[in-house]
Amino acid sequence: MMNQTKSQTKSHKKLIIQLLLGTVGMFGFGFALVPLYDVFCRITGINGKLDLTPGVYQANGVSGREIKIQFIAVNNESMPWAFKPKDSSLRVKLGQTYQTAYWAENLTPNYMVAQAVPSVSPSDAAQYLEKVDCFCFNRQPLNAGEQREMGLAFNVLAGMPAHIKTITLSYTLFDITAASDKSVASND
């Protein structure tokens, strides 16, 4: 009898430790979902997340197909700048590189730094929109009252699925003044 209870407590302990490890592991897994989710989106190109590295221009991919691309500017929450696209939409040939721009003005009496974050809709178009140069690659510092045209060069790859006739490229402007100090910002 004595022996039996002893062996039972022992196996309790083993099981409890296993279950606690499982609990801790799942707590970690919850946090692991954050990078996993990001990696998954990057690999599959879903969620409209764009590759933020400049694309390489390829001259041989030009096709006759034409699509429409719309440009949208959004200010995040309390971002007080004026922010709008130069062209509200363009008709583009697949594979050809185009230039356009966004325009921003710092309406406040203070120096501010902004970061634009792009998003593409429909999301399956995201991986075919290649940015050769983009103001979203850098932070955008503006002094009080200063305004600037910010360039964007892009091409739409020829492999784009046939059902997509219109792409919407949206930029959201975030205030990151607090997170970046002046010296770092001016290096960009």
Binding site: Q8, S11, M26, F29, G30, V34, N47
Partner: protein, 533 residues
């Protein structure tokens, strides 16, 4: 079980009782490590929370009785919907099942107590503190949480009232309580079975709780993780869910529903177990398809992990994702169908009687199936764009949770109450309670299907005029259902106080170890392991 075993067990436990009766006074309840005491405390706690959450539901229904703003401010309305959901899910349904598990698991498998009695005490006593903290937020500046029970970021981070931090800690505490309870259940079931009680002899309530406990261990830590991320976003400058800092609000929904979908099965699997105990008793037949029930429950538990994104069809997930989650969700109907089939087959050609627990169990089978069917409709991704966030969803999950989980808990209470108290409850009053609840529930939730399909959005205190009639009907039903619960409470209290002695078997067709101990179950049972053949 044979009568000789019964006498053996009862005389044995009587001698035990003389030596180790419950302690006297209030400290009995603070210090107790007895599974029956703790089970009772869980059940009372759950009943109090059920009435609290119910009052909030009635406030919601009172406001929605007519279009326009009548009684409460929109912000307070949001606090009501949020707290109603949180309290019913975490305060009423989950503790009720843990209470039933505490009371019944040791009795059903023939163990003297839960495996970890002191942990058991702790996991209960955390709960009153967690919920006091949560309810305290009503008196704080900015009011209680008002972002819905699913607390989507950034509503629950950037735009939340300051009391959100207390909400986060309350969720942490109830999570710890659930995880400890689940560990206790698993260790009890796996290690405390007497010789001869192998896994495929376990009563189904035990099986479903074992699987539920594993689900709890797998997902409650993820819930803890997601509220921790919220806490860090709010107070420590991280940006898990904040797009301005490189985070993603949709991430919140993915992590939340990774917890949230298994959570809804945590609330229904023990209900399946309860119903699988009750129907054979009153149909006087063995449960049809015992092993298929076990496998169906396991497959439901597995599938619950790969369907979470069906809650987020409209956030813009790609077509392939929508298709995957749509079909995976529909697949759940297969094991669920197996279970419903088995319950019906158990009743088929049985000699049925319709005592209160059986009435609740049959209503469970019928009404839960209705909720299951509306779930299938919601699973169809293209149709979901119309149903999403409407009252159709509200109708769906109330059909699976109220006449589903809540009815099964009431069935369980009526079924085992004579075993707990030693007295029969008032059968007439029980039946009256059943019929009023049954009618009330259907009047409340059935019209919600129609207003939902017509496009009435959920969580809004006002609505367009064309929804007025159905909403008035719903409100009447809600008050009928709410007030008929007073009968339930009266019946329980009078069952504890009056003397209408119950036999050990309690029910004519009862089966299983819990019916071999006398009624009321002595303070200590199965101190010597019973013989199981």
């Amino acid at each position: 079980m044979s009568t000789s075993t019964e006498q053996l067990v009862s005389s044995e436990s009587n001698t035990q009782e003389i030596h180790h009766g419950p302690a006297k006074g209030i400290t009995r309840w603070f210090y107790t490590t007895n599974h029956k005491d703790i089970g009772s405390m869980y059940l009372w706690f759950s009943l109090i929370m059920f009435m609290t959450g119910g009052c909030m539901a009635l406030m919601i229904r009172a406001e929605l009785f007519q279009p326009g703003l009548q009684f409460i401010e929109p912000d307070f309305f949001n606090q009501m919907t949020t707290m109603h959901g949180l309290i019913m899910v975490f305060g009423a349904v989950m503790p009720a099942f843990v209470g039933l598990a505490n009371w019944m698991l040791p009795l059903m498998i023939g163990a003297p107590d839960m495996a970890l009695p002191r942990l058991n005490n702790w996991s209960f006593w955390i709960l009153p503190f967690a919920f006091s903290m949560m309810l305290m937020t009503f008196f704080m500046q900015g009011g209680a949480p008002n972002f819905g029970w699913t607390f989507y970021a950034p509503l629950s981070t950037t735009f939340a009232p300051p009391s959100v931090t207390f909400f986060i800690f309350a969720v942490h505490m109830m999570g710890i309580s659930s995880i400890m309870g689940a560990i206790n259940v698993i260790v009890t079931i796996l290690n405390m079975r007497p010789p001869g009680m192998n896994m495929m002899k376990l009563p189904l309530f035990v099986w479903t709780w074992l699987i539920t406990a594993f689900l709890l261990i797998l997902v409650m830590p993820v819930l803890a993780g997601v509220v921790t991320m919220m806490l860090m976003d709010i107070h420590f400058g991280t940006s898990f869910f904040n797009a301005a800092g490189g985070g993603d609000p949709v991430l919140f929904q993915h992590v939340f529903w990774f917890f949230g979908h298994p959570e809804v099965y945590i609330m229904i699997l023990p209900a399946f177990g309860v119903v699988s105990e009750i129907i054979p008793t009153f149909a006087r037949k063995k449960l049809f398809g015992y092993s298929s029930m076990v496998y169906a429950t396991s497959s439901i538990a597995f599938l619950s992990f790969i369907v979470w994104a069906h809650h987020m069809f409209t956030v813009g997930i790609p077509l392939a994702g929508e298709l995957f989650f749509m079909f995976a969700t529909m697949l759940i109907a297969v094991p669920t169908g197996v279970k419903v089939f088995n319950w019906v087959a158990t009743m088929f050609r049985g000699s049925m009687t319709f005592e209160t627990p059986m009435l609740f169990a049959i209503a469970f089978v019928v009404l839960f199936s209705i909720g299951g069917f509306s779930g299938l409709m919601l699973a169809i991704a293209p149709a979901d764009f119309q149903y999403h966030d409407t009252y159709f969803v509200v109708a769906h999950f109330h059909y699976v949770l109220v006449p589903g989980s809540v009815f099964s808990i009431m069935a369980a209470v009526y079924y085992w109450l004579p075993k707990w108290t030693g007295n029969y409850y008032n059968e007439k009053m029980g039946k009256l309670h059943f019929w009023l609840s049954f009618i009330g529930i259907n009047i409340t939730f059935f019209p919600m299907h129609f207003v939902g399909l017509a496009g009435m959005p959920r969580r809004i205190p006002d609505y367009a005029l064309q929804f007025a009639d159905f909403n008035a009907i719903s409100s009447v039903g809600a008050f009928l259902f709410g007030f008929s619960q007073l009968l339930f409470i009266y019946n329980i209290v009078s069952c504890i106080r009056k003397r209408n002695k119950a036999s050990a078997e309690v029910w004519e067709g009862s089966h299983g170890l819990e019916w071999t101990v006398p009624s009321p179950a002595p303070y200590h049972t199965f101190s010597k392991p019973p013989k199981v053949d």
